[in-house]
Amino acid sequence: MPILVIEDEPKIGDYLQRGLTESGFAVRLARNGRDGLAMALEDEIELVVLDVMLPRMDGWQVLAALRARPETEQIPVLFLTARDDVQDRVRGLELGADDYLVKPFAFVELVARIRTLLRRGPPREEDLIQVGDMEIDVIRRRVRRGATAIVLTAQEFGLLHLLARRQGQVLSRSLIASQVWDMNFDSDTNVIDAAVRRLRRKIDDPFEQKLIHTRRGMGYVCEAQSAAP
């Protein structure tokens, strides 16, 4: 089922469609609120990415209309707002939105949020994660690559666990800071870079095959094949 993007800003609409398509989603794009609502009612839609400031029918109205109909009330809605005030956020969540992002946002952040919303229900935590020849025993907090056991600090393990749990996904620095260290603000990016470098020294440096990759301008991804993005 496709994701519906309702966004009037042409450049944002175009890159969202392109980026989400390339991230493996089917995407439909509406340039105003009324068309967006019509598409949501006609087609089977899996998730709506909704800009708040829209011509003809604003995002709040679209959201209210979606929530008012039984066939669309369950569709997850992630709204985009340029106004970072509490009132706006509260309003959106009160109207029944599931999540929001404040412009400007990092694209990988949007993809991560969409994936979370689509996962439906709490993700099943795996006890044993395999990435290439790396094996992570989550319960015993042990990591080995092939026959070599690797000793990590608590911080390093937390970081590796996050990257491996969401292998193949590019994780932004702010998402990493929030998930691993509970730092929910735009922190100094150097801190995350340093932490990843430290982890790599133990996980990747001694081995031929690298598992943690930098996606410049986006963040980090953990995967066995270093395929170009």
Partner: protein
């Protein structure tokens, strides 16, 4: 429209004071007039009563003369004439058996006959009555001897002309009171206009204040002493506005300047790259570099918005009691990698509880730690310390390193202030970190302090007690 006009009137100081003044003067004039009138009336009445008693006395004396009985019988008018031609005088002689011996009463008035008050009546026995025309009258009865016999003499008078005089006097007093009230109103309005002139002068000066002329002050010496507190307050307000305005415009200038650097980078490198066809790797390189600049811009925008909201108290605080040591432990964990990379050690110690918004507290500490890691001497230890001092909890970040000059210390928490201008673009710093720290502490009702001495720089966050 009408309501506006009314409210203007209600709010006019001149009008209000004038009206009060007029009321006061009118009241005083009326009071004085009434008093004078009453005194005057009482005096006239007393005089008339004494005259009436005098007439009675005269008649009594006349009756005492020899031959008075005959005279009374043959020429009663003689007695009336004795009243020196006053037409309004009425005299009646009554015998002891009640027979009226003579009645001089040309107008045919009927008046009460009071009981005889003896040979020498006092004022108190005089009785009032009212004539046929409604004029006030007075009557007194006394005894007299006539040819060894006794009879009662009744003397009465009608005071028609007196009532008219009183009425004239009353209207004159009323007119005088009215005129003085009017004069008072005029005078009060004139004086108030003069008296309030300094206010208009101040208003005139205040009206000339523009953003560009905030340095001007209202003239304190020209103001009367009653208005000095107002002028002082206005001048202090101007000073605060000037300060705020200067900071704001300085801030806008700084902001534009800060934005200029990343935008220049973006523009320049993109244009250079577009000038020739290039390989994919080069384009990728460009885009990634652009993303870095854009991230910096986005961070600056976010920080600016945070500061703007914080200064207007629009940041919702979710305060909760937090273990100080737990928080330091978290921060140390977060910065572990970065510190290690620079050959630094992180140590933390202390105890206590802070009542704070966890996200904001961590943000403040993270900004301090980023600075500390950046400026610490290689191989040194950065110390995080929590201390409970009386009612406050202090969280300190201490690093060894080149001291910060005293001249810079006072300005460190200002937006875009950098002690070392050469480090302007160092490592993606926005120049807003410490001002955010201060804004966060302001929101918590605490303070952010800095000391730099003996090769050690110590930033302290002071949280007030719960």
């Amino acid at each position: 429209m009408k309501a506006g006009w009314l409210s203007t009137l209600r709010h006019s100081l001149t009008l209000r004071i004038t009206l009060m003044f007029v009321a006061l003067v009118a009241l005083a004039a009326a009071g004085l007039g009434t008093y004078l009138y009453r005194a005057f009336v009482a005096e006239i009445e007393r005089r008339d009563d004494i005259q009436l008693l005098g007439k009675l006395r005269q008649v009594q004396i006349l009756l005492g003369r020899p031959g008075a009985a005959d005279l009374l019988r043959t020429r009663p008018d003689f007695f009336r004439d004795t009243m020196s031609g006053q037409e309004n005088s009425l005299v009646r002689f009554v015998a002891p058996d009640g027979r009226v011996l003579a009645d001089i009463n040309a107008a045919g008035e009927s008046y009460p006959i009071p009981p005889s008050a003896g040979a020498a009546p006092e004022r108190g026995v005089i009785v009032s009555w009212t004539s046929r025309h409604g004029d006030p009258g007075r009557v007194v009865a006394g005894s007299a001897s006539l040819d060894a016999g006794r009879l009662t003499v009744v003397v009465a008078r009608v005071y028609g002309e007196r009532s008219a005089m009183f009425a004239r006097y009353r209207s004159r007093i009323a007119a005088a009171a009215g005129v003085s009230a009017l004069l008072a109103a005029l005078l009060a309005a004139l004086l108030l206009r003069r008296g309030l002139r300094p206010l208009r002068t101040i208003a005139g000066h205040a009206a000339l204040v523009r953003p560009g002329t905030l340095a001007q002050r209202l003239d304190l010496d020209a103001a009367p002493s009653e208005l000095r507190p107002l002028v002082d307050a206005l001048n202090a307000m101007l000073a605060r506005l000037q300060d705020g305005y200067a900071r704001l415009s300085g801030f806008s200038a700084d902001l534009a300047h800060e934005f200029r650097t990343p935008v220049t980078n973006l523009l320049g490198q993109s244009q250079v790259m577009l000038a020739q066809p290039r390989g994919v790797a080069e384009y990728e390189q460009l885009i990634a570099s652009n993303v870095e600049e854009l991230e910096r811009l986005a961070r600056m925008i976010e920080s600016m918005l945070f500061l703007a909201r914080a200064s207007q108290d629009e940041v919702a605080l979710a305060r909760q009691p937090l273990g100080a040591l737990d928080e330091l432990d978290k921060m140390a964990g977060f910065y572990e990698g970065m510190a290690e990379e620079r050959g630094l050690r992180l140590a933390y110690s202390g105890s206590g509880t802070v009542l704070a918004d966890p996200a904001l507290l961590r943000r403040a500490l993270a900004n301090l730690l980023s600075n500390a890691v950046r400026h610490a001497a290689e191989g040194s230890t950065i110390t995080l310390r929590a201390e409970q001092r009386g009612t406050v909890t202090e969280l300190s970040v201490i690093n060894d390193g080149a001291p910060i000059a005293a001249a810079h210390l006072a300005h460190l928490f200002e937006r875009f202030y950098r002690a070392d201008p050469a480090r302007r673009d160092a490592e993606g710093s926005t120049g807003l970190g410490l001002s955010i720290v201060r804004a966060i502490m302001d929101l918590h009702g605490g303070t952010a302090q800095v000391r730099s001495e003996n090769g050690q720089t110590r930033f302290t966050l002071v949280f007030p007690a719960a």
